[in-house]
Symmetry: C2
């Protein structure tokens, strides 16, 4: 498909009703990922935003957040640092907890992944309530990194996740 604008890209997002649970309409980005032109457009737009602040490394959040963030790291000649669920990273980590709608979740980063003063970008596929992105930012800042940008492919603006990220330089390509 010939993708020339974020609106074209938005046209590829697939609504999946009742996933992961009844009443939720899931925004499925896999039709964008499998289309070479759409994938390239999405990456290039996000890269244009990030290039202005020269981040290194790019931090990506498990699992779907691993898809776009490493491409951006490669394209911007930056390193890639994974943030993962508890118990998944093999070496020494630091950890933060954050609240979900029901219960809580924990994320980790390798202790030696970020040094003081590094200019870091956090990238995820989706900005919903902002809890996950905020937790990843806290991990970077605990290690002394400076979060110079936060980028998402899709933003569910009606969930007001940006209100958790008012201190940061936030960008999203597709909004609902």
């Amino acid at each position: 498909m010939n993708i020339k604008s974020p609106e074209d890209l938005k046209g590829l997002v697939r609504d999946v009703p009742d996933f992961p649970k009844k009443g939720i309409i899931f925004k499925d980005i896999t039709p964008i990922l499998k289309d070479p032109g759409a994938l390239a457009f999405a990456v290039d737009e996000l890269a244009d935003f990030l290039a202005e602040v020269h981040p290194d490394p790019i931090v990506g959040i498990e699992s779907r957040g691993f898809i776009l963030s490493p491409i951006l790291a490669y394209k911007l000649r930056a390193g890639f640092v994974p943030v993962r669920k508890k118990g998944k990273l093999p070496a020494e980590t630091i950890r933060v907890s954050y609240d979900l709608e029901y219960g809580s979740n924990e994320l980790e980063i390798h202790q030696d992944a970020i040094f003081k003063g590094m200019k870091v970008a956090v990238v995820d596929d989706l900005l919903a309530t902002g809890g996950t992105a905020e937790a990843a930012i806290r991990l970077v800042e605990k290690l002394g990194g400076e979060v110079v940008a936060v980028a998402f492919l899709v933003e569910l603006a009606f969930l007001k996740g940006r209100e958790k990220l008012t201190d940061y330089n936030v960008f999203s390509l597709i909004r609902y």
Copy 2:
């Protein structure tokens, strides 16, 4: 770091003893990922191998397999298709089971992700016993795709995973 050969790259892999359980020495590739030059070298070598067979799409396996495979899709101007654990993909899927050392695991792919006759590359970070790669290949073939290449960053050759993949065009960059 100035990385000029697979041996240089291998020098960055970190041995983590007793992860994920006692007696296993885990090969941690995060030091490669966070080094821009090492990440670029690894991607470029894997891309050189894959470019010869013109794959589209590139299939990547959750979670660590999501890191390199999308970069290769972008670089080769191919699409990216995720293979995920049971229950994670939102739309209609097909599923395969495969045996692990203890118990079994299930992987899924979206039913509409691959069409008959597509030339597909399967990419993962690690070739160990080969069970995961073999399961991903079965998913692709069930949908009528032709697996034209299977590529890994690291191969644990002593686990003989290649013996499960003798019918395929297999490449790995770092071997133990």
